[in-house]
């Protein structure tokens, strides 16, 4: 851990500190990947826009600014490239289908903590500190009954700022919205269990070992379609 406000801290160290460093802030961890010029531009424009907001009280421009820079920071190519993929047409309309929800938001039910690395009641802070271990480990699937009351839902994920999902699980785990659509008949049926895992995990074991098991389980239920939310 670097100490804050050391006189000798370089700009590179400063911007890097937002990504799992002394100023870790998962909304802004992308700063570490920007060039010095880009990161300087991000801060300069942020402060300029903030000055405008002092005058008109409108802060949406700050949201838009961060949104644009998140896109810019993640515009690089990924590791996994496929030119084609399997496709299964929906066999019947959604209004006659049974849907399942699966997210990588890291939600689980109180009392059924996946206890990563055997740690009981791991805090979000510890999950962030151990992100390097998470990304090397196969994910555990949390089973979440669709009848789970909202106040029993917990979330922990060392890869993103969970405060939005804590304030309202539906931002990443939209169970309540799906239940409403089910009640209205727009969705015929929801599978009795929804699922979540921590998406910051070992990708090759996920592809070769973990996910195929999940697929088998869903085939056996069965379900007509899956709604997938990466976070």
């Amino acid at each position: 851990m670097k100490t804050e406000n050391t006189a000798s801290e370089s700009f590179k160290e400063f911007k890097g500190s937002f990504s799992y460093g002394s100023r870790s802030d998962l909304n802004f961890k992308f700063l570490a990947g920007l060039s010095d010029e880009e990161a300087a531009k991000f801060f300069q424009d942020l402060l300029w826009k903030l000055g405008d907001s002092f005058n008109d009280g409108k802060f949406d421009r700050l949201v838009d600014h961060v949104y644009e820079w998140q896109i810019r920071a993640y515009s690089g190519e990924g590791k996994w490239v496929y030119d084609e993929g399997a496709f299964t047409p929906l066999r019947k309309p959604v209004a006659e289908s049974r849907l399942v929800l699966l997210t990588s938001s890291g939600h689980f039910v109180e009392g059924d903590d996946p206890e990563p690395f055997g740690v009981k009641n791991m805090t979000q802070k510890e999950a962030m500190a151990r992100i390097g271990e998470f990304v090397k480990t196969e994910p555990a699937l949390s089973v979440i009954s669709i009848n789970t009351p909202r106040e029993k839902l917990r979330v922990r994920h060392g890869g993103y700022d969970i405060r939005g999902a804590q304030a309202d699980p539906n931002v990443a785990f939209p169970l309540e919205r799906l239940l409403e659509l089910n009640q209205e008949g727009i969705i015929a049926e929801l599978a009795p269990e929804a699922y979540s895992f921590v998406g910051a995990c070992a990708q090759t074991p996920l592809l070769k070992h973990t996910a195929p098991q999940w697929v088998k389980m869903l085939q056996q239920q069965p379900v007509d379609a899956a709604i997938l939310v990466p976070v």
């Binding site: 998962l26 909304n27 949406d60 949201v63 949104y67 998140q70 896109i71 920071a73 993640y74 515009s75 190519e77 990924g78 996994w80 490239v81 496929y82 030119d83 084609e84 993929g85 399997a86 496709f87 299964t88 047409p89 929906l90 309309p93 959604v94 990588s104 106040e151 993103y160 700022d161 969970i162 939005g164 999902a165 304030a167 309202d168 539906n170 931002v171 919205r177 799906l178 409403e180 659509l181 727009i186 969705i187 998406g199 996920l206 592809l207 996910a211 195929p212 999940w214 697929v215 088998k216 869903l218 085939q219 007509d224 379609a225 899956a226 709604i227 997938l228 939310v229 990466p230 976070v231």
Partner: protein
């Protein structure tokens, strides 16, 4: 999640992915079966906390895509913007 989607489709289960715009490029390169791209912030792919209307509209757009897509790699952008909601009640 791109991998999970691909495996599910191979096994005969249709999928729709709901992902933020920042993930678009990486997702595109995986030729996902169906993806709805939302103009939302990281960690909040369905919209802002308390913004029920936006969350609902996002899911409805995903359900439309589930029904309408004809081939793998169908990627649709949800219009609109991420806006914080006044409806958020502290727990």
């Amino acid at each position: 999640m791109g991998h999970v989607a691909r495996l599910l489709e191979e096994a005969g289960i249709p999928t729709v992915i709901i992902a933020i715009r920042a993930f678009r490029r990486r997702l595109e390169m995986m030729t996902p079966p169906r993806a709805l791209i939302t103009p939302h912030l990281m960690g909040r792919p369905l919209g802002a906390p308390g913004d029920h209307e936006r969350q609902r509209a996002t899911i409805l757009a995903a359900l439309d895509l589930l029904e309408s897509a004809k081939q793998a790699g169908t990627i649709v952008d949800l219009p609109g913007q991420y806006r914080p909601s006044q409806n958020l009640k502290s727990r």
